[in-house]
Symmetry: C2
Subunit: 199 residues, 2 copies
DNA sequence: GGCAAGATTGGTAGTAACTACCATATGGCC
DNA sequence: GGCCATATGGTAGTTACTACCAATCTTGCC
């Protein structure tokens, strides 16, 4: 890799770090893009080339964690056992997120304070779930493939969201991995008041 | 109710209708708020008082459908059977949405074309699911109340989303009510490849 | 080393969503 | 008719974001 890519990674990282610093100090709404650009010593024009929207600055890390795991899932052999595969996806996403707990917490804090951030986070999750649904549908057979895939993808994402939420809310609680196991156990054990079928 | 509220409802409706008309003709991005205000013969200032953001113009109907059903659920007696209650919530949301199919379809079309609309839609859904989670948690007892409530609320919302998506994608397909039953049946029947528990 | 090609950068000008604010007009009540 | 609360319209300003252009820097080639 050449010097060009190196510098690109460096400035990208620099901008991202400065942005989190300013968001952390003054809040998302009270920080302008120009301030971030000035702090990173680049022109606003350059900043926009790296991060098309202000929210991207906050959410890129989460996006990477999610789509890395999805990429892994796509590369798995066609005869992969789906329940196992989905568990691995969950573990991979959580494992990636755990590598930077402070940033995850900050993302959730910013999302809680700023509607546009939570909107983009929700959209990111929605997009990921849709792509997982497509990938799952391609690996399923029988009736109601679309339904089944969508429900499985939705449930997978639900577990991830719930575990992360619980983890963020009380940092010194149960291990993330155990939380995931607990959630999956509840689903399997039938302890959830799922909507019933009644004609 | 006085003449004041009547006029308010009327202008609100007028603005909303004109907005959908313009969005439908020229797309969301190619319609400015000022154009909508001009079409509704009100000042931009007035429009912003009714609809704080451009996206609200698109999503208010869906928001009303969702939160009406949630309001109903909140009013139910404390000893309500939760699976039955959640099924009723699903039926109520779908029933409300079905009263205006064209608008639902338009919302989905606009969301598909415009990231900011899909972001706000996703955020709306996320907010609704959170409030349902809180309501459910208050009605549950035993261990892992938070987890159980979150998983149940997530599953409920998943079913709604999947049914609406399927319904919008092929308008002449199965009845909405039957789609919901099919989704719930799949969940109950264990046909979904849920993540397994493996230590 | 030097040079041409292509990529990266910074700056300028402009659009449009949204906010804060104030003067005016309108409906509700005596 | 007159008073009060509320709704309205307009103005000025901030800020995210886009399109575009000139200058600078990296890279591959001679």
């Amino acid at each position: 890799m050449g010097l060009r890519e190196l510098k690109r990674e460096r400035t990208r990282r620099l901008i991202s770090d400065k942005a989190f610093e300013l968001f952390s100090d003054h809040g998302f709404g009270r920080t302008t893009v120009e301030q971030i650009a000035a702090a990173a010593e680049v022109g606003p024009s350059t900043l926009y080339r790296y991060f098309p929207t202000k929210e991207t600055l906050v959410l890129e890390f989460v996006e990477d964690c999610l789509f890395d795991a999805l990429g892994w899932f796509r590369e798995q052999p066609a005869d992969l056992d789906l329940p196992d595969g989905l568990q691995s996806v969950i573990e991979r996403v959580l494992g990636q997120l755990e590598r930077n707990p402070d940033r995850v917490r900050m993302v959730y804090e910013l999302a809680g304070q700023t509607p546009s951030v939570s909107a983009h986070l929700a959209e990111l999750i929605w997009r990921w779930r849709n792509e997982l649904t497509v990938e799952l549908a391609g690996r399923l057979a029988g009736d109601s493939v679309e339904f089944t895939a969508a429900l499985a993808a939705g449930t997978t994402m639900n577990i991830i969201e719930i575990v992360v939420q619980t983890w963020v809310d009380n940092p010194d609680g149960t291990e993330v991995k155990d939380l995931a196991l607990e959630a999956m156990g509840l689903l399997r054990g039938g302890g959830i008041p799922l909507p019933t079928v009644q004609a």
